[in-house]
């Protein structure tokens, strides 16, 4: 069985390069998805994060990626903004509908500390999540100003300046991480390994 990880390429900026590099370091095979029909050529999807919630949804629409994403049944890993747009609605530069895979809202972080939240931080497991297997005690790199507000699909929480926010979600075969595994040393590569090793079924 093939096991190709498709990296959805949308928008003009991108950490596509870093994600591709990390997946390769994890022993995976990648395909950068530039056209809607390429969704059929891959077994799993990584949705990277670039720019703002509003721009991201706009770019997905411009690239005709919304339909293949909404119809998708393959495992998805959303990273940073890529996790945020899995939510129902986002409030960055106005109100924007998200992909609505996870019942959640994306709001500015309200903390008594510097925002964006930048740096390595730990995770507290709330619910089991295969992509985080054996990574419970690791640190991951965060860089974000908004957070996903969700009450049902929380996989982990992270504490920033005494504020606990959702640092990863899971619903069926949909996974989202607020941090950047591609920037989280060996722990991040291990996360991609876990994602590569996931069984394909829903």
């Amino acid at each position: 069985m093939s096991n190709i990880i498709g990296i959805v390429n949308y928008g003009i900026a991108g950490n596509i390069h870093s994600i591709e590099k990390a997946i390769k370091a994890a022993g995976g095979q990648t395909l950068v998805i530039n056209k809607p029909e390429q969704f059929n050529e891959v077994d799993k999807l990584v949705l990277p994060g670039v720019g703002s919630f509003k721009d991201a949804m706009q770019e997905l629409e411009n690239d005709n990626f919304l339909e293949p994403l909404r119809n998708n049944t393959k495992p998805i890993l959303g990273i940073c903004l890529g996790m945020q747009i899995l939510s129902t609605v986002g409030f960055e530069y106005g109100t924007t509908q998200g992909l609505d895979f996870i019942t959640a809202e994306v709001k500015p972080m309200q903390v008594d500390a510097k925002v964006p939240h930048v740096g390595f931080n730990t995770i507290d497991v709330v619910n089991n999540n295969e992509v985080l297997n054996d990574l419970e005690d690791e640190e991951f790199y965060f860089m974000h100003s908004y957070e996903v507000v969700n009450y049902t699909e929380i996989a982990t929480l992270t504490n920033y300046a005494n504020h606990k926010f959702v640092s990863s979600v899971k619903k069926g075969n949909i996974y989202g991480v607020q941090f950047h595994p591609e920037k989280s040393r060996e722990a991040g590569i291990k996360l991609f390994k876990n994602f590569i090793n996931l069984k394909g079924e829903k």
């Binding site: 900026a13 964006p116 930048v118 390595f120 100003s145």
Partner: protein, 251 residues
Amino acid sequence: MNTRIIVKLDVKPPYVVKPVHFEGLRKMGIPSEMAKKYYDQGADEVMYVDIVSSLYQRDIIFEEIEKTANELFIPFGVGGAVRTVDDFSKLFHIGADKVAINTFAVQEEPDIINKAAQIFGNQAVVVNIEAKKWDNYWECYTDCGRIRSGKDVLEWAKEVEQRGAGEILLQSVDADGRNRGFDLELCKKVVELVDIPVVVSSGAGSLEDIKEVIEYAKPSGVAIASLLHYDKCTIKDIKEYLRKNNIEVSR
């Protein structure tokens, strides 16, 4: 909250150099090799600054930047001679996570900060401030501490935050490369003034200097160059020392 320990590579392509007081360069090594070494030691981030291209009005040299990015699975910032949105875009595409801008924004078009932040997100835009101390204020310098701008550092720091910068890299023209400690007042003032993260640089001559600036100014991160480049200590030594002194750092 962890204070980030960042390695700064001052580059005069193709070498990492160590400017003393922003003048007089000493060759220290190849950027990609040094970055790899510090990654293995546990650096939280690497900041690559081309310190000559802006002054000589040369274009950015992408090759070594890409090579360096390829060695790292931690955040990688790049600065030096950035002038256009296209420069930002190219740097992100070859593996930069953040791009730092100074001269062009200060001397010619501050609006580039707004433009870049809107396109790439605030977190990806770093403004590099080179501060020179005068009797009762600090002045922004550009082109690696050579050119005066007439701009007040504190006013500029507030302005770049409003324009959408996601981080400030704060350097001191006076303290840089002298290994005699940070300009503590400068660091504290800027950290307290803005709500975005401030990474302080310039002046770390000992582990005590790093501890002192963290305790006094509470920056989000400290960028270190000579102390590491001269093998006076490793990232591991720094983190162990800080931890022993009750300063939180990542593993």
